[in-house]
């Protein structure tokens, strides 16, 4: 089990996860069905496809104060909408490098492929991303103070 | 003899027009029909009974039916509350360790080693009397009781049936008709 015990009073990051409905969201459900435990840091936003997620959405999450972002879709070739994740892959590849270029820490913005049958992998990725974000500490860049 | 005939007919599919019945089942039948009357009142001291299911009679022979009858008769004779069953029991009971000619053939040490399991099982019941409806079991159970220092008495069934028998006024008893 991928369980990360949370210590009392320890800072828990907030991570916005955009999950495609057909694979990664189902994978997250399967993680639950299989009772794989992972840290309570994710706030999942269900989107039809990883191809639905734009740079704007990711920046909006950061601007709103998310300590991290995860975008996850179907594996290449498995897209329910044929090619959405291929386009997404190009957009995200460019965006991720670009955000790193302006000084956003590499581990803040994460992308993964998780299929509907990969409940365990989902829990692993959720744990991994949380740990990476925890190492970075709370997000400061691009966080708008309202 | 009983088992050898039974199994021989069964294994070689030999046609026959008779059935095999143990006297125990007949006791039970007569008790149920009221033709035989028993009263456990004799057992004032509350002697506790348990049982040995002989392999040839039960497990390999006539099955659980006869084992059930055996218990039925004992309970009638000694009182329901004075019967303590063994684990495992009936078809699933352990071999006494005295069969297969081992009582007659030497190898005493081995025989008693096998019999230790039976001894432990019977001891665990805490019974005062062990009923063994088989001469072979009877001899073996007596032997292991002596050897391992058991406290029970090993007997056949009829000894106790006699004690409990009620002879009513009509004088009619099973077997006399």
């Amino acid at each position: 089990m991928n369980e990360t015990e949370r210590k009392q009073g320890e800072w828990e990051p907030k991570i916005i996860a955009f999950l495609c409905n057909w694979c990664s969201y189902a994978g997250a459900d399967l993680a639950g069905v299989s009772r794989y435990q992972y840290p309570p840091s994710l706030r999942i936003v269900r989107v039809p496809c990883s191809g639905r997620v734009s740079a704007n959405m990711i920046l909006d999450a950061l601007r709103s104060g998310a300590d991290g972002v995860l975008v996850s879709g179907c594996h290449p070739g498995d897209c329910h909408y044929i090619s959405g994740n291929y386009y997404a892959r190009r957009r995200f590849a460019i965006l991720k490098r670009f955000l790193e270029f302006v000084g956003i820490e590499s581990d803040r913005v994460n992308f993964s492929w998780i299929s509907a049958s990969e409940g365990e992998q989902f829990a692993q990725v959720a744990t991994e991303v949380t740990e990476r974000v925890k190492r970075l500490g709370p997000a400061r860049h691009l966080v708008k103070e309202f | 003899m009983f088992f050898a005939t039974l199994e021989g007919l069964r294994r070689f599919n030999i046609p026959h027009k008779f059935e095999f019945v143990s006297i125990i089942s007949l006791y039970a039948k007569w008790l149920r029909e009221g033709r035989l009357k028993v009263d456990p009142a004799w057992n004032k001291d509350g002697l506790k009974f348990t049982v040995q299911d002989p392999c040839k009679l039960v497990r390999q022979g006539l099955g659980d039916v006869v084992a059930e009858d055996l218990r039925y008769v004992i309970k009638k004779v000694a009182g329901e509350e004075n019967f303590i069953d063994v684990w495992p029991r009936m078809s699933n009971n352990y071999c006494c360790g005295g069969g297969g000619g081992s009582l007659q053939a030497g190898f005493v040490e081995n025989r008693r080693k096998y019999g230790k399991l039976k001894f432990d099982q019977l001891s665990a019941t805490g019974a005062d009397v062990v009923i063994t409806p088989c001469h072979n079991c009877h001899t073996q159970v007596i032997d292991i009781c002596d050897f391992y220092g058991g406290k029970w008495k090993t007997t056949h069934l009829w000894n106790w049936l006699e004690k409990a028998l009620v002879i009513d006024d009509s004088g009619v008893q099973a077997g006399k008709d």
Partner: protein
């Protein structure tokens, strides 16, 4: 002996006049002198006489492609939104184009902003345009009243001074790192095609920043944009920025605050640049237009570098080739995908 630019200007006027006289084009888009030195303004010649006001020199920095859609539209008969487009050929427009501008026109054609058949492109292979801010820096920001341009020199004059400057020293960064000075599409040429330039260090400006730590990069980025006044001159000078409502102006949803709050400014610059990903030709208009001297071109140059490195595509090199973000290959690089990199670690 006239200079190269004088010769080009002459030829340009002549070709524009011919086009206008023959009626082949309804207007010709080029440059005319502005009211101050070192600033050329886009100029539309509508009559053969206007053609004589066209000029060509090292200060033609604003990308003419930016003005084409509106200019073309001005020659279309007015119509309601759902009416069919007018039948028959529409008036054409002539335009002068160097490498980067022509590549922008390619992108515009791909994005349905202009129609190739309505353009008559006079190509000029670029020698690089001058960065006015570099000149001013060299002369300690004194006022300039006149600039005389030779083939390889600039003579800058002002009250009480006249200095000669090596032209290449003050050429814009984007032009110095340009490898495609030749126009990609044209109908006529002035001068010869020069061919590709071999510049192994064309992305050195980007690489220097890439070499920094995340913290240092953030420091660089924020200090670079801290003087931004959100005037949007960079956006307006850009031929790629043609949305009727720019995301910065949108209020539902509000992608980014409208203030000069540092986060809003940062997001503005990130998204403005990102919207140019795979489309930007590094024409430098944005930087040239910026009143605050912000080097936002480095952002788009980074995107250009990555798109080239990841997908082998440079914007505007071919009308046929799709833009990088509207296509994909099944084996596009994906080492940035966490599940893929974790897989790698396990091996």
């Amino acid at each position: 002996m006239s200079t190269m630019n004088e010769k080009i200007t002459e030829e340009l006027r002549q070709k524009a006049r011919q086009l206008l006289e023959s009626g082949r084009v309804a207007a010709f888009l080029g440059y005319a002198s502005g009211s101050v030195p070192m600033v050329m303004r886009p100029f539309v010649a509508r009559t053969p006489e206007d053609a004589d006001r066209l000029e060509w020199n090292s200060f033609c920095v604003l990308n003419l492609a930016n003005y084409l859609p509106a200019l073309l539209k001005s020659f279309e008969p007015p119509r309601r939104p759902n009416e069919p487009p007018p039948q028959g050929p529409l008036p054409k427009v002539g335009v002068v184009a160097t490498g980067c501008w022509s590549r922008n026109m390619v992108v515009q054609i791909q994005e349905n902003q202009v129609e190739r058949e309505r353009l008559v492109i006079i190509g000029i292979s670029s020698r690089g345009m001058v960065d006015r801010k570099k000149v001013q820096a060299l002369i300690a920001h004194r006022d300039v009243t006149a600039v005389k341009e030779g083939d390889n020199t600039l003579v800058v004059a002002g009250p009480g001074f006249e200095e000669e400057i090596n032209r290449w020293d003050v050429v814009r960064d984007n032009c110095k790192s340009c490898v495609h000075p030749d126009p990609v599409i044209f109908d006529d040429m002035i001068g010869e095609l020069k061919g590709e330039r071999d510049l192994p260090d064309r992305f050195s400006q980007v690489e220097e920043i890439e070499a920094l730590s995340a913290q240092e990069r953030w420091k660089w980025f924020t200090s670079e944009i801290q003087s931004c006044i959100r005037c949007y001159a960079c956006r307006n000078a850009c031929p790629l920025c043609y949305c009727p409502t720019c995301f910065v102006d949108d209020s539902r949803p509000q992608w980014v605050g409208k203030s000069i709050d540092s986060v809003d400014t940062a997001i503005f610059h990130i998204l403005r640049a990102y919207h140019c990903a795979g489309r930007c030709t590094d024409c430098g208009s944005c930087e040239s237009a910026c009143p605050m001297g912000i080097r936002m071109r480095i952002l788009t140059k980074k995107l250009q570098k990555d798109v080239l490195q990841l997908y082998g595509i440079e914007a505007g090199m071919s009308v046929q080739e799709p833009l990088p973000l509207t296509t994909y290959k099944k084996d596009d690089p994906q080492d940035f995908i966490l599940t893929e990199s974790l897989k790698g670690e396990k091996k």
